[in-house]
C-alpha cells in the first residue's frame, strides 16, 4: 500500500515530467524542422530566382503569329518611344531652374545623375520585359529584326549620343538635344533601295550649321565605301535642311561642325 502510493506518486511525477519533456522535444523538433524548412525554402527560392534570371526562356510551342504580323506589331512601338522622352527631360530642366537655386552648386549634378540612373533602369527593364513576353508567346523573329528590337530596347533616349554619357551633361544636353532633333529631321528623308539596305553599310556625315539652322556645309566624315550609299545619305541631309533655329548657347558648336550624323549609327 505504502509502496503503491509512493509508486503512484512517483509515476504521476515522472509521467508529467516525461510528458512535458516529450512534448517540448516534439515542439522543439517541429520548431527546428520549421526553421530548417524555411531556410531550405529560402535558398531554394533564391536559387530559383537566380536560375530564372540567368536562364533564357525557351519557346515551348510553335509560334502562333507570323513574321508579317510581328513586324506590324513592332512598328507603333518604335514611333512612340522617341517622341516622349525629350519633352520629359526638358520639363525637368525648367523645374530645377525655378526651385533649386541655392543648392545648385552641391546637388544638381548628383541629383541629375541619380535621376538619370533611375530613369535608365526603368526604361531598360520595360523593354526587356516586352522582349521576354514576346519570346514566351513563342515569337520567332529573324536575326536582323531581333537585333533591331534589342537595339530599340537598349535605347535610353532618342538622341543616342555615342560619346556622351560619361560626362557632366548639363550644357551638353542642350546641344545634344538639338543635335537629336537634327537627326530626327534627317531620318524623315533617309531612304534606301532594297539592294543597298541589305548590304549593312555605314557612313557618317559632318554638318556645319548657321545660327538660323540653315545648312552651311556638309561633308563625308566616314565613307561607307559605296558611293551610292554616301550620296543617298548626303541627299537626305540636304533634303532635311534647313533645320530648326540653333539655341543661342550652341551657336558656336553648330557653326564649328560638331554634329556628326551616323547612318545608321
Amino acid at each position: 500500500m505504502n509502496i503503491n502510493t509512493v509508486n503512484n506518486k512517483t509515476f504521476k511525477y515522472y509521467f508529467s515530467w516525461s510528458f512535458f519533456f516529450h512534448l517540448s522535444v516534439v515542439a522543439l523538433f517541429f520548431l527546428f524542422g520549421k526553421l530548417v524548412h524555411d531556410k531550405i525554402q529560402k535558398t531554394k527560392d533564391y536559387n530559383l530566382k537566380l536560375i530564372s534570371a540567368s536562364v533564357k526562356v525557351d519557346m515551348v510551342a510553335m509560334p502562333k503569329f507570323t513574321l508579317k504580323e510581328l513586324k506590324t506589331m513592332q512598328a507603333p512601338a518604335k514611333g512612340e518611344v522617341p517622341v516622349e522622352k525629350p519633352s520629359k527631360k526638358a520639363a525637368e530642366v525648367i523645374n530645377k531652374g525655378d526651385t533649386v537655386f541655392e543648392k545648385k552648386v552641391k546637388k544638381p549634378n548628383f541629383l541629375d545623375m541619380m535621376k538619370g540612373l533611375s530613369k535608365k533602369k526603368v526604361t531598360k527593364t520595360k523593354y526587356k520585359e516586352v522582349e521576354k513576353k514576346g519570346s514566351k508567346q513563342g515569337v520567332g523573329i529573324d536575326s536582323n529584326t531581333l537585333k533591331k528590337l534589342v537595339a530599340e530596347g537598349n535605347k535610353i533616349s532618342k538622341g543616342v549620343a555615342l560619346s556622351g554619357t560619361g560626362r557632366s551633361d548639363q550644357e551638353l544636353t542642350e546641344f545634344q538635344m538639338y543635335a537629336s532633333t537634327v537627326s530626327a529631321q534627317v531620318k524623315l528623308h533617309w531612304k534606301l533601295p532594297g539592294f543597298l539596305l541589305d548590304k549593312d553599310l555605314k557612313c557618317r556625315i559632318r554638318i556645319y550649321l548657321k545660327s538660323d539652322g540653315s545648312l552651311l556645309r556638309s561633308e563625308i566624315f566616314e565613307t561607307s565605301g559605296e558611293k551610292e550609299f554616301d550620296t543617298r545619305a548626303m541627299k537626305a541631309v540636304q533634303l532635311a535642311a534647313p533645320f530648326s533655329t540653333v539655341p543661342v548657347a550652341s551657336k558656336t558648336n553648330a557653326l564649328k561642325g560638331e554634329i556628326v550624323l551616323g547612318f545608321p549609327l
Binding site: 519557346m59 507570323t66 513574321l67 539596305l197 556628326v260 547612318f263
Partner: protein
C-alpha cells in the same frame, strides 16, 4: 611652365576633337525603286503572231520584276513610251528609277528583239541585249533579259531563269489516280509533261546542275508486290531509268553536290534509314542508324550539312547531320508533326511544314535551331516548301477545301518572310511537291 602650357594645349585640342557629337540617324526606310516597262515598240511592219509575242515578252519582263517586292515597285500595266531618245529628266520628276524598253523589227529570219534597261538616276542604259525570236518561246527571251537587267541593277543573280519541277494529277481520275512529273518556268509559264508512267510519282528532286530529276514511282495496278521504286529522269535526253528497287521504300532522294551520288531513304533494313548511293556503282553508305525512322534528307549547296526528319524523339523532329563528322544535332523541339525540312541554298535556314491548328503551315528556323518563325497562316493547308536559287523566295503547295468532297492544291510563291506573291498554277489538276532548280 612651358610644359604646363603645352599640356593645356594638348588637353584643349583633345577636348575639341572629343566634342564632336555623333548622332545616330537610324536605319533607313526602305525605298522601292520604281520600275516602268514600256509597251513593245514595233518598227517597220510587224505582223501576225509576232505582235502578240512582242507584248508577251514585255509582259513577262514586267511580271518578273514584280516578284521582287522588297526591291522594286513595278507599274501595273505597260506604259507607252515612244521610240525616240529617253527623256531621263521627265522620268526623274515622276520618281521613276528604271525604265525598260523593247524594239521589235521583223525580217525574213524572224523577229529581231532589242531590249534595254535604263537607270534614270544615272541617266544611262545599264543593260542592252539583242535576240532573234523565231516563234517558239518568247518567255525565254524575256526571262533572259530580265535576269541580265536585274543583275546589272542590283549586282545579284535573280530567279528569272530558274524552273520548277512538280507533280500533277490532271490526267488521273478518282478510280485510277495518275500523278506525273511536270516542269515549268518559275512563274508558271511553259508547263511541260515529263513522265508517262500511268502511276503515281512522288517526291521529285532536281540535280544541282539542273539536268536530272530523281523521283519515286508507285506503279498502278493492284499487284501484291507494289513497291516504291526510285527512278531518274534525264532532262536532256528525256529518258528515265531505274535507280533503286529494294523492298520497301526507295524514296525521298536528293542529289549530293556534284551529282555523282544521292541521298535517299531506304527501308530494306527493316526501318527507314538514310543512305548515300553512288549513282554509277550503286554502292551504299549508311548515314543514320536509329530504331526509329529517319526520312526526308535535304542538303545545302556545298554539301557540308544535311537536314532530315527523325522520329527518335517520339514525334517527327528536325535534325541536322554534319557530313564530315556525322554528328547529329536536334534542331526542332516543338511541333505536333513536322515534315519536309528543306535547306536554303546557303544552308543557314531551314523551311519546313508543321501541323498546327488542324492544318499544315510553313515555318522557318535557323540551322542552329534559333529564330523559329511562322510564315503562313489562314491560307489553306501549306506543305512542301522549296527555296529559290537565291534564297529570297519559297514555293509551296497549298490546299483549299472547296466542298466536303473536293479540294484543290496549287503551287504558290512567297518571299522568305512570308509575304505571299501569288499562285503560279491554276486549273492544272492538283499540283504538289514543287522543287525549284537551284542553278540554270
Amino acid at each position: 611652365m612651358k610644359k604646363l602650357i603645352s599640356l593645356m594645349a594638348i588637353l584643349l585640342s583633345f577636348s575639341a576633337i572629343a566634342q564632336l557629337n555623333i548622332v545616330a540617324v537610324g536605319e533607313a526606310e526602305l525605298e522601292l525603286s520604281k520600275v516602268e516597262v514600256a509597251k513593245p515598240i514595233l518598227q517597220g511592219g510587224v505582223t501576225g503572231n509576232y505582235i502578240s509575242s512582242a507584248s508577251t515578252i514585255m509582259d513577262v519582263i514586267r511580271n518578273d520584276f514584280s516578284f521582287y517586292m522588297k526591291k522594286f515597285s513595278v507599274k501595273k500595266e505597260l506604259s507607252s513610251i515612244g521610240e525616240g531618245s529617253l527623256s531621263y529628266s521627265s522620268f526623274k520628276t515622276q520618281g521613276v528609277s528604271y525604265v525598260i524598253r523593247g524594239f521589235f523589227r521583223q525580217d525574213n529570219t524572224g523577229l529581231k528583239v532589242k531590249l534595254s534597261a535604263h537607270d534614270i538616276g544615272k541617266g544611262e542604259s545599264v543593260a542592252e541585249r539583242e535576240y532573234v525570236y523565231s516563234g517558239s518561246n518568247p518567255r525565254e527571251i524575256a526571262h533572259k533579259f530580265a535576269q541580265a537587267a536585274f543583275e546589272s541593277i542590283t549586282g545579284e543573280k535573280s530567279i528569272f531563269n530558274s524552273k520548277m519541277i512538280f507533280v500533277s494529277d490532271r490526267h488521273g481520275t478518282r478510280k485510277d489516280p495518275v500523278k506525273e512529273l511536270y516542269m515549268m518556268d518559275f512563274d508558271g509559264g511553259n508547263k511541260k509533261r515529263l513522265t508517262r508512267h500511268g502511276g503515281t510519282v512522288i517526291s521529285p528532286a532536281v540535280s544541282h546542275d539542273g539536268t536530272k530529276v530523281l523521283y519515286s514511282l508507285i506503279e498502278s495496278g493492284n499487284s501484291k508486290h507494289r513497291n516504291i521504286n526510285l527512278r531518274v529522269y534525264d532532262l536532256k535526253t528525256g529518258r528515265n531509268s531505274l535507280v533503286s528497287s529494294r523492298s520497301g521504300l526507295n524514296s525521298g532522294a536528293v542529289f549530293m553536290p556534284g551529282g555523282e551520288s544521292i541521298l535517299l531513304t531506304l527501308s530494306h533494313v527493316g526501318n527507314a534509314e538514310i543512305f548515300i548511293m553512288n549513282l554509277k556503282t550503286k554502292a551504299l553508305t549508311r548515314l543514320t542508324n536509329s530504331y526509329s525512322p529517319d526520312v526526308d534528307p535535304s542538303i545545302n549547296t556545298n554539301g557540308s550539312i544535311m537536314t532530315f526528319l527523325s522520329g527518335r524523339a517520339g514525334k517527327p523532329m528536325i535534325y541536322t547531320m554534319d557530313m564530315a563528322t556525322k554528328k547529329v544535332k536536334r534542331i526542332s523541339y516543338v511541333g505536333k508533326f513536322n515534315a519536309t525540312p528543306r535547306f536554303a541554298p546557303d544552308g543557314k535556314t531551314i523551311a519546313f511544314s508543321s501541323w498546327l491548328d488542324t492544318r499544315f503551315d510553313i515555318f522557318r528556323i535557323d540551322s542552329d535551331g534559333n529564330n523559329l518563325a511562322r510564315l503562313t497562316k489562314d491560307f489553306g493547308s501549306n506543305e512542301d516548301p522549296t527555296y529559290s536559287n537565291d534564297g529570297q523566295f519559297i514555293a509551296f503547295s497549298s490546299q483549299r477545301v472547296l466542298s466536303r468532297t473536293r479540294a484543290v492544291q496549287n503551287i504558290y510563291i512567297m518571299d522568305n518572310d512570308g509575304e505571299i506573291i501569288g499562285s503560279i498554277t491554276e486549273n492544272f489538276g492538283n499540283c504538289t511537291t514543287p522543287r525549284w532548280t537551284k542553278s540554270l
